[in-house]
Symmetry: C2
Subunit: 534 residues, 2 copies
Amino acid sequence: MRRWNGWGDEATEFPLRASAVRFLRQRIGKGRPLADADLDQVIESVPRSRLPEHPLVDRSPEIRVRHARGQSLGDWLAMRSGQFGVFPDGVARPGDSDQVRQVLDWALAQGAAVIPYGGGTSVAGHINPPVDDRPVLTLSLGAMDRLLRLEPENRLARFGAGTPGPALEAQLREHGFRLGHYPQSWELSTVGGWVASRSSGQQSLLYGRIEQLFAGARIETPSGSWRLPTIPASSAGPDAREWVLGSEGRLGVITEVDVRISPLPEFEQFYVGFVPDWEQARELARRLAQDRPSLSMARFSNAEETRTQLRLAASPLALSALNRYLSLRGCGKGRCMVTFGASGDAAFCRAAVKRASALVRAHGGVMIGKSLGKKWEHARFRSPYLRHGLWEHGYAVDTLETCVEWSRVDDTVSAMENAIHAHAGEGEKALVFTHLSHLYPQGSSIYTTYVFRCSPDYEQTRRRWWAMKEAASDALVACGGTISHQHGVGRDHRGWLSEEKGTRGLAALRALTAHFDPTGQLNPGCLVAEEDRP
Amino acid sequence: MRRWNGWGDEATEFPLRASAVRFLRQRIGKGRPLADADLDQVIESVPRSRLPEHPLVDRSPEIRVRHARGQSLGDWLAMRSGQFGVFPDGVARPGDSDQVRQVLDWALAQGAAVIPYGGGTSVAGHINPPVDDRPVLTLSLGAMDRLLRLEPENRLARFGAGTPGPALEAQLREHGFRLGHYPQSWELSTVGGWVASRSSGQQSLLYGRIEQLFAGARIETPSGSWRLPTIPASSAGPDAREWVLGSEGRLGVITEVDVRISPLPEFEQFYVGFVPDWEQARELARRLAQDRPSLSMARFSNAEETRTQLRLAASPLALSALNRYLSLRGCGKGRCMVTFGASGDAAFCRAAVKRASALVRAHGGVMIGKSLGKKWEHARFRSPYLRHGLWEHGYAVDTLETCVEWSRVDDTVSAMENAIHAHAGEGEKALVFTHLSHLYPQGSSIYTTYVFRCSPDYEQTRRRWWAMKEAASDALVACGGTISHQHGVGRDHRGWLSEEKGTRGLAALRALTAHFDPTGQLNPGCLVAEEDRP
């Protein structure tokens, strides 16, 4: 059964190694475990539903608890403390687009706010019920998880919007295809959610972002159904698909998604190497991005991330052997880990891997055997579980991400990391580390993780979290970065949107949402709101 | 000096070969030359300007004639007959964004319609003054043709929006870079126009469409300046750049454009081959598109286009030798010409060319030496001049284009070509031929050319042209195609937009334009209008 107050299935656990706990204690002090609330207690705290009965709507307290929050650290603290604040008044689980239409019309007529819900994996408050007088209906697409149409000749597939990553790939695999979109949340997140939040997957170097994979959709808008056809390319005015990408539920409910698929790769492998320092890592990243290297993924960890990842993942013995070897080969304390992969035609991939390995060496680095690459492959969807292991020992973890041009990468990484350190709290420290993982000829994404020990109570912990997140968000936007390269805006990031869109862009976005949703009932407060700072 | 009533410079001519004229006569009958109007006569017909004086606005009749029309066949017939119907009341030629702001504010205050003007190369009526009571100001960006900023590390360049293709590439070449965007209109069209009309270039397989090359912009909107920053990628809501791409002047005047650039290629070469029939050509195209072939361009002519192109370009002697050779090698009367090219790293390109050549052979085809490829390269921007050569002999030529999925390519080509044949007019014939030139894993563009002899007068010629264009447009939209893959919507294609956007998409587009331009003064009638069929 899926956890009601955390990530993934209850049966799946990845506890911390003792050596990892020692490392954390040494770096940021002894953890302070906080007591978890009990599901039964939380269920008792759920108020009476403000929605009337409807055959497609479940108003029972437990299901309302289980759909009240996403996976941001703020959500986590709310769930763990049991202080949810607000719950949806009911959860609908329609089986097809017609039922979505039916329940959407009903909810709009009730004056309810409607929150489209995919996998519930948002880390930006996309699915959190707004606090106001209106009842809230959470509309889960979870029952719409099937392949609806396959066109092998056109490399197209249509899915129910609620299809999660593993079910989507399994259904394609039967026919010899894959989508190739692997966000960190892949186990639980859905194809409709990927579109609505403009997500990006680990192998974006080859398959592109969801923008490149999204071919068409059916959307139930307040004024009726809207089918976006799957035309390969067009110059007939602005592309309406691009209004839907990142619309975060504000224009309507995405019920079916057409995606561009690829044949299963003949070859797929991941590799790990190390370079002596960050300067080399960042230059290597830029070089790989600008040389059309035909890799499917590449990731560049800074020294602190390299150190931390290895401490969390490897036994002390193995680690010390590795470190000795790397030091001998010229990668000392400042060493940075490089992970890359290739997928597709075998001969093509082998040539790409050879070229990339040569570039690692040309940057003073060294390639390690395939074992670490395999390790990365097997563990690549595990990061969200890490929060559980840390939490047990009294530590909290969160991430922040952006995208900037190459010339701004270093300043932005510094500004983000420094802001977090500076706001860790009186007498407290944070462990902060960063990697680059989505590369473009023009620039790179930046993904920063920070671990800190909990305060003695939830409210203080939450306040420190927000202080770090807010300061780092201010810093990255000041560096010219986007407030999100892959997590979206939701309710949490709204305040940092105007720098990117401009006041004119934000006003236009409001005009667009108001056009589709004149009564403001579709995911209100998400993405844009009237009170946004100009 | 640039022609006032046709394409390109007055000094540049490409007359038809005698053998080509014989070919046309045999296929569609003896041409009927129509008499051209005289510039002086047309200038005399220009009415008094309805705009007051302004230091940045030229109201002289000749400049108003020279900015009244684009390059559609309808525009051509208007210019050649001297029946312009309507002229702009003045032409502004601001030197920078601030002057654009100044003249835009002035024109809006005058109640004028404002038509942003790049290279004047529209073939869809983008820049034709609307016929109504308002004065019309044509706002030419032609003086804003400089490189404004170069960021080699970030592979970015900023240009004045009025920079035409050759000036843009020349300024980049000095620094070792290229944009790589080569629409057929490249000699005259501008970077701002490419963005506003969502254009696509010959080497789109490698460099992408303008959507992929467009990084940011400055736009003067009625309510003020709007700077779209150059963030490499973002999930922070819908991408505002995608509202501007294809906006056709309806949101504001694009004054500066940031583009993503590439280093000058180490290697660039084009090749020609032939396959026995269309079935093989189309399958080869699909295979090349879906196998990530790393070519920069590929073009697949059907049998009629192959025949016509060779008749127009080659001497009868050379042609007959070629045909004998091809027939011996299995490419008989149904033979289809395949042109492809590769650009970039030499080793990479050679491998790609080898693979593509092997695929041509695997489809029963044969590769020809490099001479035809070089010929294509040298002649690739010449097609617009062809209209002059044909016109002198009493023939008119026009093109139509769309994009559909692979499974629909054959039906769409047939439907378009048949519709044109069926509407050539009582007792008249059209020469109709087609190629595929922009390939996607999902489908292909379709580009159809039709040549017909003029009627005894202009009005009949215009009516026959529109009957063919209208029937083919109805046909391609009925096949699920876009009304334009690379020419845009303008005023001429508006009637076929609703199938692609849906009524809801069109209504949203209207809401967006109304938001930016509440008084409806920016390029009114272009892209969307209130009277569009639902």
